[in-house]
């Protein structure tokens, strides 16, 4: 692993100048390293961060990847690390023209990392440096506590997909001074609605009284208003103070909750575990935006390398070579989804739409096909619009907002189905639907979406931690429940309950077995039908490392 040569760095700097002129924005410095494929195999499980903490599961993955590599030598890896300065990796045998293309691709990624709002929590961070310090902390703990460090890592990683990325972002971006008066909140939202205020008419009267006070006494309105209130409800202040004391802390994800409330972790000899958990949590949070912007990020990079490469004077004579590589990257597969191709085409589509003024109500309300085809306001705002999309969207909102029938038609996209032809003994792929809504649904289904599981504080008592899973149409993977809950039990130091929803037919299905790694038999169609039928609330309880399941 070494820095790229001065010659190649000069190419990179040239790319930066041109990319900036085109409107991309990124930090001046960047580090580029030459690596071997073997280096990349080892970096893969660590999400390409060379300094990430050591963990045996990564070793397992490295060994497996190496085994695979022996049989199928390929380069299955990302190149850019979102850190400060951004780090990217390159093969040592790239010709200069290919480097030009890759550099543009990388610069667009860096631009994306440093401008997309979902990455806000990573904007100021030198994650490679932070990770190194975490890695050292874990190594130091490991020399002291041995394998128990790895158990804590494992158990925390078991719930690290439940970290609340959006709460984190929302905490970060709440401007100071916008918090409304809490006394007023309490009065209208809690006090009046908990038996002190009579019915709806009284409530409306109180609102009117408040508005009246504001009109007459502003800026003293609030104190005047509450002086009146106190006459009627002398107990108000005492109740408000009590409420304030009991007011719930800001929402916490499961890892945070355990760190703060687990009796086991509060014991002095177990304090070190919190450090490990914090490292796992921080690492997971760091990768959250990347998981959620695969289509957008790769699409953006492909969009820009195509745009910038073709206008780069330094690549004359290599257009054909470029076309070959680029076609491989950005072609739409006959069957399957290529995020590079999909994202890039959607950006191009949006640029064109915005240029013609079609992202507007006027265009949307046109019903006539011919008029729609003719519609062109020639706004010239296409580029500004895609920059805006790059800043404000993630994969879900990107696909959900912009995939429409125009786009699906223009790219001849369809939902491909697969069915068994038992006579020929083959799977048949067929065109299932060319409907944009169906296509959109199919893509959205495939996006990353961790389950919503939170601590149910009301039911958490007598040392039993109670978790509630909000059902979103899909059950949890049954085989994984046991080990995940085993880990939570360990970190909590007591029994753990999980309320979830499962299809009733599961009870008699082939996989009524809670062993980890057990994969279910494919059940018959009749059974699948039955499974659709009814949903049931199910409670799993992990106590003394034994899992029980009961239907409520």
């Amino acid at each position: 692993m070494e820095l790229i040569s001065q010659h190649t760095k000069e190419i990179m700097e040239g790319c930066k100048t041109r990319a900036r002129e085109a409107g991309l924005r990124f930090q001046d410095e960047s580090l580029e390293y030459i690596v071997t494929n073997r280096d990349l195999l080892e970096l893969g499980p660590k999400n390409m961060i060379p300094t990430l903490y050591d963990y045996w599961v990564h070793d397992v993955e490295v060994l497996r990847e190496k085994g695979k590599y022996e049989l199928y030598p390929t380069n299955p890896y990302e190149t850019v690390i979102n850190t400060r300065p951004a780090i990217s990796f390159y093969n040592d045998n790239n010709p200069d023209w290919l480097n030009v293309m890759i550099f543009y691709h990388v610069l667009a990624h860096i631009d994306f990392f440093q401008n997309n709002l979902y990455y806000r929590n990573t904007w100021d961070e030198d994650f490679a440096g932070q990770a190194l310090s975490d890695k050292r902390a874990i190594a130091a703990l490991r020399s002291e506590k041995g394998r128990w460090v790895d158990y804590v890592i494992e158990f925390t990683r078991g719930i690290d997909n439940l970290v609340d990325h959006f709460a984190e972002l929302s905490r970060m971006s709440r401007p100071a001074g916008t918090r409304p008066s809490t006394r007023l909140d309490y009065y209208f939202d809690v006090f009046l609605q908990s038996g002190h205020g009579g019915g709806v008419p009284d409530y409306l009267k109180e609102i009117e009284r408040y508005n009246q006070t504001v009109r007459e006494y502003d800026p003293m309105a609030e104190s005047v208003f509450f002086a009146e209130t106190r006459k009627k409800h002398p107990e108000f202040d005492a109740l408000y103070e009590k409420w304030k004391r009991e007011e719930k802390a800001p929402a916490q994800d499961l890892i945070q909750h355990l760190q703060e409330h687990s009796p086991w972790l509060q014991q002095p000899e177990n304090q070190w575990m919190k450090t490990v958990m914090e490292i796992v949590r921080r690492t997971s949070l760091y990768f959250q935006p990347q998981i959620r912007t695969k289509i957008l990020n790769e699409g953006w990079a492909s969009y820009w390398h195509e745009k910038l490469f073709l206008s780069d004077d330094r690549i004359r004579g290599n257009e054909v070579n470029y076309a070959r590589v680029n076609a491989k990257v950005t072609s739409l597969p006959r069957v399957g989804i290529n995020p590079y191709a999909l994202g890039m085409r959607l950006f191009q589509h949006l640029e064109e739409m915005a240029d013609k003024g079609r992202i507007s109500y006027d265009y949307q309300r046109l019903a006539d096909g011919e008029e729609r085809r003719q519609y062109d306001q020639n706004t010239g705002k296409g580029l500004a619009f895609v920059f805006d999309v790059r800043e404000n969207f993630n994969d879900f909102t990107f696909i959900h907002t912009f995939v429409d029938q125009d786009f699906v038609n223009a790219n001849r996209l369809f939902v491909a189905g697969r069915r068994l032809n038992s006579q020929k003994g083959v799977w048949e792929f067929f065109v299932k639907s060319r409907n944009a809504e169906e296509y959109k649904k199919m893509i959205l289904e495939s996006l990353y979406h961790p389950p919503s599981i939170h601590v149910d504080e009301e039911k958490t008592k007598e040392g039993t931690l109670s978790l509630r899973h909000v059902h979103e149409g899909k059950p949890l993977v049954r085989e994984y429940i046991a080990n995940t809950m085993l880990g939570i039990e360990y970190l909590w130091g007591g029994a753990v309950r999980l309320e979830t929803t499962e299809a009733e037919a599961d009870l008699s299905s082939a996989y009524d077995d809670l062993q980890p790694f057990y994969m279910p038999q494919a059940s018959s169609e009749a059974e699948a039908e039955a499974q659709k039928a009814k949903l049931r609330q199910v409670v799993y309880t992990m106590e003394n490392r034994k899992l029980t399941r009961s239907v409520t």
């Binding site: 692993m1 045996w56 049989l71 890896y77 990302e78 006959r334 590079y340 697969r418 083959v426 067929f430």
Partner: protein, 409 residues
């Protein structure tokens, strides 16, 4: 037709088409042993085991399948189960191009959808990988099942092998981590150069000029880790008297020892194969070692001398734990064994262990080799360095393992 999942799309594979460098087998990461050990400890700690040994199979022409044995594990989490949906509509995906709704556009076999990838040419080292992967697994099994002793020290000699990444390189201007001491030194240097520091014992900090270039940062670089490594000489008598059973026994035992060492040294094992009758020669691989036959006589001395020459020529004893395992029927033309013993004593000087297995046609009389070795009392003088075992040519596998224990423990 293959559907590529999202997760398989990544910059390197997409942007760099098809560069296919080779990975030398010797450089593979080596820790399956540790992982399995960790797993059994896990069970003792009251948690279920997590490691499974899996195989990746690449189908080839005819019967030439390539198999690689790899560990696998699953990180369990609460995640949504999408399989139910799949039962309803198996394998839904995206697509593009021509075709009316309902039209079949391709098909794929139901069975045989194994691990994919852009299948490389994949000839060359294949055979070797196969035996190595198999041997490792075998080594693990015989170590566990037959409770062979673990090597106490994993090598008093160390060898540079593995790498890790640390922020140890220095870089001026920008980087990962500010090296404050180096930066200060650099600032002082610059200012001395600029004549800003007339008296080094009385520095006026307010007068120093600080250039951005003076900031020294640490940046990522690759660091070498230390790891031990074994060098094993397998020596086989392939003279005319060694035919049939004795040869099979020797070779079978050598396979087991090889596996065991592979496991103990976590693949960091270099092997050299030596055949001898009255003269010794080195052959390049295990297959040749296994299959060659000649009709000559026997001189053990020739093999021992060859090893000594090889080790001396490259000073191999500095970097490796050296093992010598020798199989013969014990018939030697050199009746008194004088030169053989002389060469053996040289070997003892640097070897971690010499194991000699004799497989005589009859157990009734002591063979020439056994006699002169015992007469020299070398076994009593160096019990840690040299062992001798004599096995009946009709012995079963268990006896072979027992033999290994005798040679190694």
């Amino acid at each position: 037709m293959k559907i590529k999942p999202f997760s398989d799309y990544a910059d390197f594979s997409e942007l760099q088409e098809d560069s296919l460098p080779e990975v030398p087998a010797s450089q593979r990461l080596a820790s399956i042993g540790d992982l399995l050990e960790r797993d059994s400890q896990r069970e003792k700690d009251g948690f279920p085991r997590k490691i499974r040994i899996g195989r990746i199979v690449k189908p080839g022409r005819g019967l030439k399948e390539k198999i690689v044995i790899v560990p696998t594990t699953v990180e369990e989490k609460f995640i949504h189960d999408t399989r139910e949906q799949e039962q309803e509509e198996p394998g839904q995906s995206g697509g593009s191009g021509e075709g009316d709704e309902g039209e079949v556009i391709g098909e794929a076999p139901v069975h045989g959808e194994s691990e994919s990838g852009q299948g490389g040419p994949g000839q060359g080292e294949g055979g070797e990988h196969e035996i190595e992967a198999g041997a490792y697994d075998l080594g693990r099994i015989i170590s566990e099942q037959f409770e062979l002793p673990n090597l106490k020290t994993k090598g008093r000699r160390r060898f540079l092998k593995k790498y890790s990444y640390e922020l140890t390189d220095r870089h001026e201007g920008f980087g990962q981590l500010l090296d404050k001491k180096a930066t200060l030194r650099k600032i002082i240097e610059t200012n001395i150069g600029l004549d800003k520091i007339p008296d080094v014992y009385d520095i006026d900090l307010t007068q120093l000029l600080v250039s951005p270039e003076d900031s020294v940062y640490r940046i990522l670089s690759r660091e070498k880790d230390l790891e031990s490594q074994a060098l094993v000489f397998f020596v086989r008598d392939y003279s005319g008297s060694m035919w049939g059973k004795p040869t099979e026994l020797v070779v079978a035992q050598h396979v087991l020892i090889y596996s065991w060492l592979m496991y103990q040294y976590e693949r960091q094992v270099v092997t050299r194969f030596i055949l001898h009758d009255t003269t010794a020669r080195e052959v390049s691989d295990f297959y040749t070692y296994y299959s060659l036959k000649v009709a000559g006589g026997t001189k053990m001395e020739s093999a021992y001398r060859l090893i000594n020459e090889i080790v001396e020529a490259d000073s191999l004893d500095r970097d490796y734990n050296i093992y010598v395992f020798h199989g013969s029927d014990g018939d030697d033309w050199e009746r008194d064994g004088k030169t053989a013993i002389e060469q053996l004593r040289k070997l003892i000087g640097y070897c971690s262990r010499i194991g000699i297995t004799l497989t005589p046609a009859s157990m009734e009389n002591m063979t020439t080799a056994e006699r002169y070795i015992r007469d020299s009392s070398i076994l009593e003088e160096h019990p840690q360095e040299i062992r001798l075992d004599t096995i009946d040519e009709d012995a079963a596998d268990l006896r072979l393992i027992e033999g290994i224990r005798k040679l190694i423990s």
